[in-house]
């Protein structure tokens, strides 16, 4: 029982984790991309479509990453080159992604999906409890953890991370030191798009292997909230993602027990209510948030030539 719950928590947490880590890098570079939901849903539909047409889940995942990056490039062009309003452009990205995914996905409604296989490591995967939980996941689950580790290391232990944080904290100084603020930010935005696309493909190729319109159901927005929750620290994203993964599978497990007499809608709304609650608790503590908030978050930068 506990094992089954833990397994569903892992699958529910993985897309949140990946999308949130990507957005964390974007925000560390000083850009607020509210279009995570749009990039994610495009990843979901393109991943499903390509996997369906080619019969290869791996190709689907790569196509989804590409779709996320294409969406991110569009966003980057608008907010970095044309200096458009970041909040409004992010919203536009979500609206566009929702529309486009509906159009592309119409042909795939009700089509049986393709589930990317779980890894099987002889010996390790057979250990009771630990095996299924730790060593029998699909590759994306491990990629998620790897991403967190790489991002955490890069941000705080490498020159690249230092440059990224400098650009996010004070773009004028970074510019004066000779770093190309726009280029660093554009690459960060692309990385965020790739992560959101990957998270989306996990939704349609692993979490529920099928295409349903709007299947990301606000997870992109929850990922945005997770970045605030983590106060821009990668390791805390893991804690947040698993917390929200747990909340979002409550519904699934409660419905299996007939004696639980709670309206399913109330359980379905828990992740959204939990997001609000967490935002309140985190934001109320200004000292905690202000320390790590990138100082130039959401501020436009026009190079002074």
């Amino acid at each position: 029982m506990f094992e089954a719950v833990l397994l569903t928590v892992i699958t529910a947490a993985t897309p949140l984790l990946i999308a949130a880590v990507g957005e964390l890098v974007v925000e560390r570079s000083g850009v607020l991309n509210l279009g995570v939901e749009g990039m994610m849903i495009m990843g979901a539909v393109v991943g499903f479509a390509v996997a369906n047409q080619t019969g290869s889940g791996t190709l689907g995942v790569f196509a989804a990453v590409g779709a996320g990056m294409a969406m991110a490039a569009l966003f980057g062009f608008l907010v970095l080159i044309l200096v458009a309003n970041q909040v409004a452009t992010g919203l536009a990205l979500t609206i566009l992604g929702t529309g486009f995914s509906g159009l592309i996905g119409e042909a795939f409604i009700g089509v049986p999906g393709l589930k990317i296989p779980s890894l099987y490591i002889p010996g390790l995967s057979d250990i009771p409890f630990i095996g299924p939980v730790l060593f029998q996941q699909d590759a994306i689950v491990y990629v998620g953890f790897l991403l967190v580790a790489v991002v955490a290391y890069t941000l705080f232990r490498t020159r690249l991370g230092l440059v990224l944080r400098a650009v996010g904290d004070n773009h004028n100084s970074a510019h004066a030191l000779g770093y190309s603020v726009i280029r660093v930010r554009f690459l960060a935005v692309l990385f965020g798009g790739a992560c959101a696309g990957l998270a989306g493909s996990y939704m349609s190729l692993a979490y529920t292997p099928q295409w349903v319109e709007n299947m990301t159901a606000g997870r992109g927005w929850i990922a945005l909230a997770l970045v605030v929750f983590s106060s821009w620290l990668p390791l805390r994203v893991v804690a947040g993602a698993y917390l929200f993964g747990a909340v979002s599978v409550l519904n699934l497990h409660a419905q299996a027990h007939e004696q639980v007499n709670i309206p399913s809608q109330l359980l379905s709304s828990l992740p959204y209510l939990a997001t609000i609650l967490v935002l309140v608790l985190i934001s109320a503590n200004r000292r905690l948030t202000l320390v790590n908030t990138p100082a130039c978050l959401g501020k436009p930068f026009v190079p002074d030539r």
Partner: protein, 362 residues
């Protein structure tokens, strides 16, 4: 070669008016490409989508009916965005408004008098305003990001609607279908002008005009614009950012709630699990396309409503999915935001070698 932005000395008034038109032209171009790629004649597609709905009386009426909630919600959102309050949860405020407005005809169907409809409209506006005040209060008290909280409340609102129409508010004589009882005649918003238009439309236009005057000619309008552009300057004038956050959210929520009530009491005449084709989100596009100006929003609301009707038209005439409507809506917002760059900047192509001259330094 690369793009280079050169800041203008002041905002270009010409571009402020031209940019939405350029955006619409670019959107039409993009739509033509989408039609061509999906194997249809792009010119026929554009005609069916953008022009034909304007040539027939029924489709013109349908467009106006769809434009009405968009304009009403868009006006409220404009006040929020002008004052730098990012309310993106109008869809939820629309739904909760519809729920409050429907409480009377659903729970007390015997109460049928001339007061029924006015009471419903008041309740609807109240419900929407209360729902919108949640993110505003959280922003003021806890410094919570209103973008995320207002959006989260959209999901909660649609789940509450779902619960009510499947549970306590389900029509007792409705064979277990997830829908409320039908409203009585006293609870239905009447048609005017010989039955061609819902009373909701003139109400909306009057509200938009009043708001236009308030924004352009009154102290409150000045306060909204100053606090949006320079909160520090506004605070020296004695304006309170927190009070304005409450005001703008309550106003936007109230208008969205009113739109929700008029939608269920006008078009649907009952509550269903889904009562909006995304009006609350489309209204965000309306607000931006309309330059955050109520008069502009009336025009923009009509344009966006046309995209709903046009989507249906190309689906029935050419077999193109009506999902193309939301793609075109999304593209339109993108192009509007991109073209708005022209208001503050001039764009020129510069080669990498030659550094720009003295004009670049402003």
């Amino acid at each position: 070669m690369r793009l280079e932005l050169v800041k203008r000395k002041e905002r270009s008034r010409t571009m402020a008016l031209l940019s939405p038109l350029i955006a619409i032209a670019l959107t039409a171009l993009a739509a033509a490409i989408i039609f061509a790629v999906s194997g249809h004649n792009p010119l026929v597609g554009l005609y069916k989508f953008f022009i034909e709905p304007l040539t027939q009386q029924w489709s013109l009426q349908a467009t106006i009916a769809k434009a009405t909630p968009l304009v009403l919600i868009g006006c409220g959102l404009a006040v929020c965005y002008l004052s730098n309050n990012w309310n993106i949860g109008a869809e939820g405020q629309f739904i909760v408004g519809a729920l409050f407005g429907s409480a009377l005809p659903v729970m007390f169907p015997e109460f049928q008098s001339t007061a029924t409809l006015p009471l419903m409209l008041v309740f609807g506006a109240l419900g929407g305003a209360l729902w919108a005040l949640l993110p505003a209060v959280l922003k003021n008290w806890f410094n919570t990001n209103e973008i995320l909280t207002s959006l989260m409340l959209v999901y909660v609102a649609s789940l509450i609607l779902d619960y009510l129409v499947r549970g306590p508010w389900r029509d007792p004589g409705g064979y277990n279908f997830p829908e409320s009882r039908l409203f009585s005649d006293a609870a239905i918003i009447p048609n005017v002008f010989g039955g061609t238009m819902s009373l909701a439309t003139p109400i909306t236009i009057v509200i938009a005009l009043v708001l236009a005057v308030v924004l352009a000619r009154t102290l409150k309008g000045f306060e909204i614009r100053v606090m949006g552009e320079s909160p520090r300057a506004g605070s020296f004038a004695g304006f309170s950012a927190k009070r304005l956050t409450l005001f703008s959210f309550a106003l936007a929520g109230g208008l969205a709630g009113l739109a929700g009530t008029m939608e269920v009491s006008g078009g649907l005449n009952q509550l269903l699990p889904t009562i909006s084709p995304g009006y609350g989100f489309t209204a965000i596009i309306v607000a931006f396309l309309g330059r955050l100006n109520p008069i502009g929003i009336i025009v923009a609301g009509f344009v966006l409503a046309l995209s709903y009707i046009g989507g249906e038209a190309v689906q029935s005439a050419m077999g193109v999915s009506n999902k193309i409507a939301s793609v075109i809506q999304g593209l339109l917002l993108f192009f509007v935001l991109a073209c708005d760059t022209l208001i503050l900047y001039r764009i020129r192509l510069a080669s990498h070698q030659a550094p720009s001259g003295e004009t670049a330094h402003v």
